[in-house]
């Protein structure tokens, strides 16, 4: 059995599955239930200074796709709306009850050294394992000069991180906002400020949908709406790209990564880990299905690791990073074409119409004795994969390699490239 135990910048947890800072981690009640269900750690719902913020009623929007509920999710909630000392007491109590679990506290206070100094001392007192700096909240808090307003300015990220390292002995995780052009800016700033780790992504600024009767964005609050933070399965590809960019950046080496964004099952987790994350955090999937999903995540990851012969999570952390290259490093001589398995084809015609209308006219729609038959025209096929993706039958269309794999030529050497490097004599 694979060993799932995690040691993330000195923070230990029995598995790498943490709950992200959000409603599931807002209270002792929830966190106790989460730990009982088997979660390895939590990042406590972000704390701020008293008086606490006030939340609106009608807070969440959801994007359901083709009958799949909550493919995407957004919220217009702020940080915790409970008094600071209640949260601190509960954190202390939870940590005492579950000493083997990771309890990290998310923080967001005004951009002044005194404010940070004060709250760090209070958090340290709870026995928490570490802190996460919430530089990511994209709504409500940024208007007050906190959250993503800080996360979008690398100089501030560096400054606040440094304060935290100076005034606390706890490991510091900087949570990054994706609402930025280049994630490396704030990531490198966190590193310069002395951060032990980054976690990402926080939510993406979004308008979930428009209520066309009320003529207002959803969730509608008394006839009006505001932009919120987008998360859930739909954001996973965006999150993974940002994680991978940091993982392969030479300047960011040495900083651990906690991956967040749309993680719903063991496979999502394994993908983030292969791209350099060493723990993962989950919010939406737990809000959708409850805490019990962690069982499947732990079991699935462990079975998969056993199958692959990975003894622990470290064994495959970042393993896909050497293969995450720039486009110009891809092999232009690699050649694949679509192949249709006629025995499993159900004649839906989707491959044909997709290729015919929008790609390379490489799938012929034939009628043989009145029966439909779809055939790939190999000479025309560019190997784009479109038909394989639209085919509703698993493994009916496969992409088959035609080249023999003997030559490798990238754009850097290609004759169409005006800036090509001449091959070395």
């Amino acid at each position: 059995m694979a060993n799932l135990v995690s040691n993330f910048v000195g923070i230990r947890s029995p598995n790498p599955f943490w709950l992200a800072s959000a409603p599931p981690t807002d209270k002792e009640y929830n966190v106790v239930r989460a730990f009982r269900a088997g979660w390895g750690g939590v990042v406590w719902k972000t704390l701020g200074e008293d008086p606490p913020v006030v939340n609106v009623s009608s807070r969440y929007g959801a994007f359901s796709y083709n009958g799949t509920r909550v493919a995407g999710f957004n919220n217009i909630e702020l940080i915790t709306d409970r008094p600071l000392d209640i949260n601190l007491q509960e954190i202390k109590s939870v940590k005492r009850q579950f000493p083997d679990r990771a309890v990290v506290v998310s923080l967001m206070v005004p951009c002044e050294e005194e404010s940070w100094k004060r709250i760090l001392a209070q958090v340290e007192d709870t026995g928490a394992d570490g802190i996460e700096l919430n530089f990511g909240c994209p709504h409500g808090m940024s208007e007050r000069g906190m959250g993503s307003a800080v996360g979008q300015v690398p100089e501030y990220v560096e400054m606040v991180t440094r304060w935290c390292k100076q005034h606390s002995r706890m490991p510091v995780i900087v949570k990054l906002t994706p609402n930025i052009t280049n994630i490396l800016g704030p990531a490198r700033a966190a590193k310069r400020g002395g951060a032990d780790a980054v976690s990402l992504i926080n939510t993406i600024q979004s308008i979930m949908s428009v209520d066309l009767d009320v003529m207002a964005p959803t969730p509608v609050v008394d006839g009006k709406g505001t932009h919120g933070g987008y998360c859930g399965p739909a954001v996973k590809p965006i999150a993974m790209r940002m994680v991978a960019d940091i993982a392969r950046d030479p300047e960011c080496q040495g900083m651990a990564i906690s991956g967040i964004g749309g993680i719903s099952n063991w496979r999502d987790a394994a993908e983030f880990i292969s791209l350099g994350a060493s723990t993962v955090q989950v919010c939406t999937a737990a809000m959708h299905h409850g805490f019990r999903i962690v069982e499947e995540m732990a079991d699935g990851l462990s079975n998969w690791m056993d199958g692959k012969g990975f003894g622990d999570v470290k064994a495959f952390t970042g393993m896909a990073i050497p293969n995450y290259v720039h486009w110009e490093d891809l092999n232009l001589n690699y050649k694949i074409v679509a192949k249709i398995d006629q025995d499993t084809c159900i004649k839906c015609g989707l491959c044909h119409i997709a290729c015919e209308d929008t790609s390379h006219q490489s799938i012929a729609a034939l009628r043989i004795d009145g029966g439909r038959r779809y055939e790939v025209i190999e000479e025309e096929c560019v190997g784009c994969n479109l038909c394989m993706h639209v085919c509703p039958v698993e493994d009916c269309i496969t992409m088959e390699r035609l080249d023999d794999g003997s030559s490798y030529m990238t754009w850097k050497e290609h004759s169409n490239n005006p800036m090509r490097r001449e091959a070395a004599e």
Binding site: N66, G67, I346, K347, C348, G349, L350, H352, I353, A365, R372, P392, V393
Partner: protein
């Protein structure tokens, strides 16, 4: 020992409680709600050159209407359906989809579980009917006149299409109500809440159609007269005769035509007033046999047996229909043919059957071995036919051409041997279904419109 012959026939109304009648004649397949419809619609792949569409006799653009349901454009879905099939509402309830669209659905090939096209079609059309929306507008009147005989699916479909083109249509219907077998034939639990009449009202509300009730061709009107008074004539008069068993005892009390019993049942406002036998035998292998058997069972008959002279695969009732009868407690006995209807005191008491087999040449043959089934009532359901003489006292046969089985001969436009006379539905044959009758009416209307406008 008392024999069955000594016991008087037990045929009585009111065998069940009021609640049982209500449940038994309520919707056999309840409609989908919005959420169910959205989930089901999401199962559709939106196929290109969709096989389902080709399998629908009226060629409804199925992927398109399902996609409209999926995007909550239910009105658009309903219009897409009704544009090709004005009786899309009835068809959604009565089509044997297991041999039509749903059989062809690629999901049947993939996982033996088609998209439930019929149920989705009902969801869309019900939505429109519930809101009493009339999506069609009639073109400016052309002044051309068309006579339609028979207000069944074929006739109404033809009349509606022609009326929308602006032609004035008069429909002659011998019954007091329109709808044809939608009103008088199809099983009650498929057409609840007076759906047939709601649909007729919907069709007529587009304007341009006048129905003359109680007017029968061959009795009150003649073809010659119609041809003289109108620019074109469409005949949609369905079947007009029932095949006889041609065995002894057909005139015994308790022996009747399945279609007559069904018509009475459909028209009875109070099902508990209908007398039904305790033991019933149905002879035949089609839709009608299934329907009369199942509905008798639902009226409270104790033992209902369908006897068919061949095996299950030869039955014209589909596998799903046979199963439906069986789950309703009807026994289906294959490979036996009736020999004698045995009575006592003028009333039916038993039916004698002979076992059948296929001989070496593949022909059906009796084995000589017989058995008897007790019966208070026998329903004959061995097929209906069309007898031209019943409508043509003026010598129909001399002016029109017929198929060998007696039905009207038509070309692909549903045009008969007379240029301005068209026909469709059960009276021309093919697959005797509501949906094909609607298609015939639609195709004939197109041809008639071309004829009238020279286009």
């Amino acid at each position: 020992m008392t024999s069955v012959m000594d016991v008087p026939a037990d045929i009585a109304p009111g065998r069940l409680s009021p609640r049982e009648y209500e449940v038994n004649f309520d919707d056999a397949t309840p409609p989908l709600n919005r959420k169910q419809a959205l989930i089901e619609a999401a199962r559709c792949y939106f196929c290109y050159d969709a096989p389902c569409m080709e399998a629908c006799p009226t060629g409804i653009d199925i992927p398109s209407f399902i996609r409209k349901i999926a995007t909550d454009n239910v009105k658009g879905a309903a219009v897409t359906i009704l544009e090709e099939n004005i009786m899309g509402g009835t068809c959604a309830r009565v089509c044997p989809t297991e041999i039509l669209c749903e059989q062809a659905c690629v999901r049947t090939a993939q996982e033996h579980k088609p998209v439930t096209i019929g149920a989705l079609q009902r969801y869309a059309t019900d939505w429109l009917f519930d809101r009493e929306i009339q999506p069609f507008t009639r073109a400016e009147p052309t002044g051309r006149k068309v006579a339609v005989v028979g207000a069944g699916p074929a006739g109404l479909s033809c009349a509606h299409a022609l009326a929308l083109h602006g032609h004035d249509v008069t429909v002659f219907e011998m019954q007091p109500k329109a709808g044809g077998l939608n009103e008088y034939g199809i099983a009650a639990y498929k057409m609840t809440n007076d759906f047939a009449q709601r649909e007729v009202d919907f069709i007529l509300s587009a304007g341009g159609i006048t129905v003359e009730y109680g007017k029968a061709l061959g009795r009150d009107i003649t073809l010659a007269q119609l041809r003289a008074d109108y620019d074109a004539v469409f005949l949609g008069i369905g079947h007009n005769a029932v095949n006889a068993l041609r065995i002894a005892g057909e005139d015994l009390a308790g022996v009747s035509n399945a279609v007559d019993f069904i018509a009475a049942l459909r028209q009875a406002p109070d099902k508990s007033a209908l007398p039904v036998g305790r033991k019933i035998v149905v002879i035949g292998g089609g839709n009608t046999a299934i329907d009369v058997a199942t509905q008798s069972k639902r009226l409270g008959a104790e033992d209902v047996t369908i006897v068919y002279r061949r095996g299950p695969e030869s039955m014209s009732a589909t596998g799903a229909e046979q199963e439906w009868a069986q789950t309703n407690g009807v026994r289906i006995k294959y490979w036996a043919q009736p020999r004698t209807l045995v009575g006592s005191g003028g009333s039916l008491r038993e039916v004698e059957f002979e076992y059948t087999v296929l001989d070496e040449a593949g022909r059906l043959a009796g084995t000589g071995e017989v058995f008897r089934v007790p019966a208070d009532m026998v329903f004959k359901a061995i097929g209906q036919s069309f007898v031209p003489s019943a409508v043509g006292e003026e010598g129909f046969a001399e002016i029109l051409e017929f198929q060998p089985d007696g039905r009207f001969a038509v070309n692909e436009d549903r045009q008969t041997s007379l240029a301005n006379v068209f026909a469709g539905g059960d009276c021309i044959g093919g697959i005797d279904l509501t949906v094909s009758a609607v298609q015939d009416g639609k195709v004939a209307a197109r041809a008639i419109h071309r004829l009238l406008t020279g286009s």
